[in-house]
Amino acid sequence: MSELVTIYIDGQPYEVPKGANLVDVAKFYADNGIPVFCYHPKMEPVGMCRMCLVELGTIMRDRDSGEVITGENGEPQVRWFPKLQTACTTTVTDGMVVRTNTDAVIEARDDMIEFLLTSHPLDCPICDKGGECPLQNLTMAHGPGRSVFYWEDKVRLAKHVPLGELIYLDRERCIQCARCTRFQDEIVGDDVLAFHERGRELQIITVSDPPFDTYFSGNTTDICPVGALTTADFRFEARPWELKDIASLDVYGPEGANISLSTRLDRDAGGIVIIKRVMPRQNEAVNEIWISDKTRFGHHHTRAAERLTKPKVRVGDRLVEAEWDHALEVIRKHIKPNVSVGAIAGPTLSNEDLWELRKLAQAVNAGAKLSIYPATMTGGDIIAQVGVGVGTNFKDMGSGTTIVVVASDIEEEAPIWYLRTKVAGDRGAKILVLNARETRLDHYAADSIRYDYGAAVSAVNDLAKHEAVTNAENLVLICGAEGMTLEQHGELMNACANLLVSTGHVGRPNNGLLAVWEGANVQGAFDVGFSTEATAEMMAKVPDLLFIAGCDPIGESAEAAGLSKAKFIVVNSLFDTPTTAVADVVLPSQSFAERDGTFTSGERRVQRFYPAQGVIGQSQTDWRIFASIRNGLNGSAVQRLTAGVFKELAGEIAAYEGLTYPALAVVERQFPDVGGDDLYYGGTAYQNNGGLGVQYPATSEAEGAKPSKFATKGKKTSYKGLTAIPVNRLYDRGYLFKYSDELMQQRIGEPFVVINPADAANIAGGSRVGVTIDGVQYEALAVVSEDAPKGFVLMPKRLTSQPGPFAPAAIETIEVIAEPVGA
């Protein structure tokens, strides 16, 4: 803990950490909200808005003796600054005296509000921010209620300026606090917003192409203290006071970002409660108060028109709608003793779903294969042994910490980890990037190490001698699987674990391994007993009876086509997909928004989400569907509540021992205090009232634990000829995100491949090419760039409706289908 000093705020003494910011301290310790517009607890202070003016002084001490000088009445003498000071640019020191409620301070606030309002439009009734607007609130609290300025002189500017597709700027409402530009610059590192001109002409601009191109743009609307930045998604959709907030979790990434679903009864949606917007929910250990645009705007699938509303049963070569009882009956009829069984779980199934799926599959056949889709990464058990220690928080990482990112473009694969890694780097942490190609994180890296695709393992082994690793006090490895087969990734995970164990960086906070899982609950699936190796085995020998839930393997992965050979296929799905097309029974399941459950994040944090949206059609929770099938099967008792399923699970899975729903819902006060009524301070991110979750300990954290050795064969794979490397992109046409609204569709863009200039002899950038792999042609836009290493073609996954390769694959031919437009 840092050193404490005593300061006096409005006459009261407080013990506060030395060097802390005065605004933060006054708020957290003295519950004294010094009003601010430009200051934000997550960013460096700039002192631009002058709203936080206070009277500041220090207790006088004798120069020689250091004794406190007292006046006639024995009170310590205070040396006051002659003028008011900005609290936000002040760090606390011992004996600091602050007055926040004197006439001078009140008058100053009064004046600042008056100045701000000289040109701020009075369109609160149609402003999306109205009702949760810091300017509105602070005007009510501190404003003069009159103005000496002529309203006619107010500046008139454009009111509907699109900054990219997702964000609208209202130039008149902007009060020039620079929070958005500083967020983009300091926190994200995409400095695509800036001020233009000066004085009264000052305006926010973006001239980047494409405009406001960043994965975090939505966060600027949260921290905007006025309605200048609003999202296209929520524009004119609802008023904040009509919304009910339900704690939930991101369903796309492994980071476990905490979100809050703002819901409302909606006539247009058929009179059910729907999600009107997604907002961040503060969890300082997970996502602080930031979420990616995918998390924020990717909620439309929950009520897409394509949602399945009734079960379907195969009759001949058609799927026809049926009642639940009939559908379940049909399934039970096909469950015979000793039938071989496989289960494929998608990455968005909750732990409860997975538990019931496992119980069902094993009830039918004890040797059932339990597999995870997508089967691109492995090593959930390794994470359970040497994953990051309990209490790990990127926020605590700085000088002395080394963060290594291997084989992952984490900006695309885990944007919150990207953001937090980048900011840790700014605080002094060393970032090492190991990849076969350049990624955005290289820009912030202390060292970028390039290996050839196929040689990642030896690159990690060589790290043991790297100065940034040998000198590291704390070491975190973030491991992806780009350009690897499942087997190669297993080797890499072993190599990473080996490095951590051999250098002693396991079993304590801010040390250990993270895997960039492709989805929200892949770690949970591993924990409950599912594996990706089982998927590979299943592809090799397709079982007779197949349960597929929460994914679309046949529609996305070229390797999964063989699954359709199973004799009887049951698919739980939100939508009609190529996978449901080969099913014998299709059961409509519920999205994360309609139900409750738990996800386990990549940091092994088990977190709860809660029901928010009205149920669509006759859809059912996945675990309930599995329980219903099993119930009729052998009469075994099933749980009635999600909490009951979790309790059962926690009783049998050792890592989850002792975890309960109430324990996961515990919240405590976080620093800085964001949310609540003090919107001006941290923005409109929500206070966490749904639970901070519990990180279960890795086995290497146990008292006296000796982590086992992890062996690697160190075998290199070398590729001959042109090879396709499937890569992940944040915005894709995957199972859920495909059903986003038009807003996100524009951002996904059309399919493309990246070819190195040396390999693109007769291919011009911008032409349409056909890439043939394994006899299948994939059409895409050709991007000719050094981003792809020589001999390799980067092929983003899931950009078309055509299933593509998920592992490196030899390219037979690339031919030009059409020359670039305009060439």
Binding site: D190, V192, A194, F195, H196, E197, I205, T206, V207
Partner: protein, 161 residues
């Protein structure tokens, strides 16, 4: 392309600064010299050269008044009309110059030769009326001298063609 045409000058500029980003302002001047003002094309080139986002470069161009974001004539005449200069007749000179060229404040002649605007103190009060033409001082002016200079510049421009 600036990077090709002014490779030497840009290289020399870079050598004066710790990183490329810091050299953005001198490089912007080079771009302005080439284009006469700073169109989006110039901003994008400078952004490429200095390894910055175009938005940041545009922001810098917007903040400083010596970067022009609107097309200017070949000769950019900035007349100082602050108080000491005005006392020596600079405001009258400014007005007459505009009338002679037939332009409004900040306007450009139809032939694209001259842009006239008034500016704040150029620190040459003792030699007023004065102006700066493409950032070079021309001092102790009156309209006769000015007319001669304008003809000279016109001739110069013709030769350049």
């Amino acid at each position: 392309m600036l990077i090709e045409k002014y490779a030497d000058r840009i290289e020399k500029t870079f050598s004066k600064y710790p990183d490329k980003r810091s050299a953005v302002m001198p490089v912007l001047y080079i771009a302005q010299e080439e284009y006469g003002w700073l169109p989006d094309e110039a901003i994008n080139e400078v952004a490429d050269i200095c390894d910055m986002d175009p938005t940041q470069v545009r922001s810098i161009a917007g903040f400083y008044t010596m970067y022009s974001e609107k097309p200017k004539g070949k000769y950019w005449l900035q007349v100082c009309t602050d108080l000491p200069c005005a006392l020596r007749g600079a405001d009258k000179f400014h007005k007459e110059l505009k009338e002679y060229l037939g332009v409004e404040e900040g306007g450009t002649t139809d032939d694209g030769m001259f842009t006239v605007e008034h500016v704040m103190c150029l620190a040459a009060c003792d030699k007023a009326p004065m102006l700066q033409c493409n950032f070079h001082y021309v001092e102790n002016l009156d309209m006769d001298k000015m007319k001669a200079l304008l003809d000279e510049w016109r001739a110069e421009a013709k030769e350049d063609k």
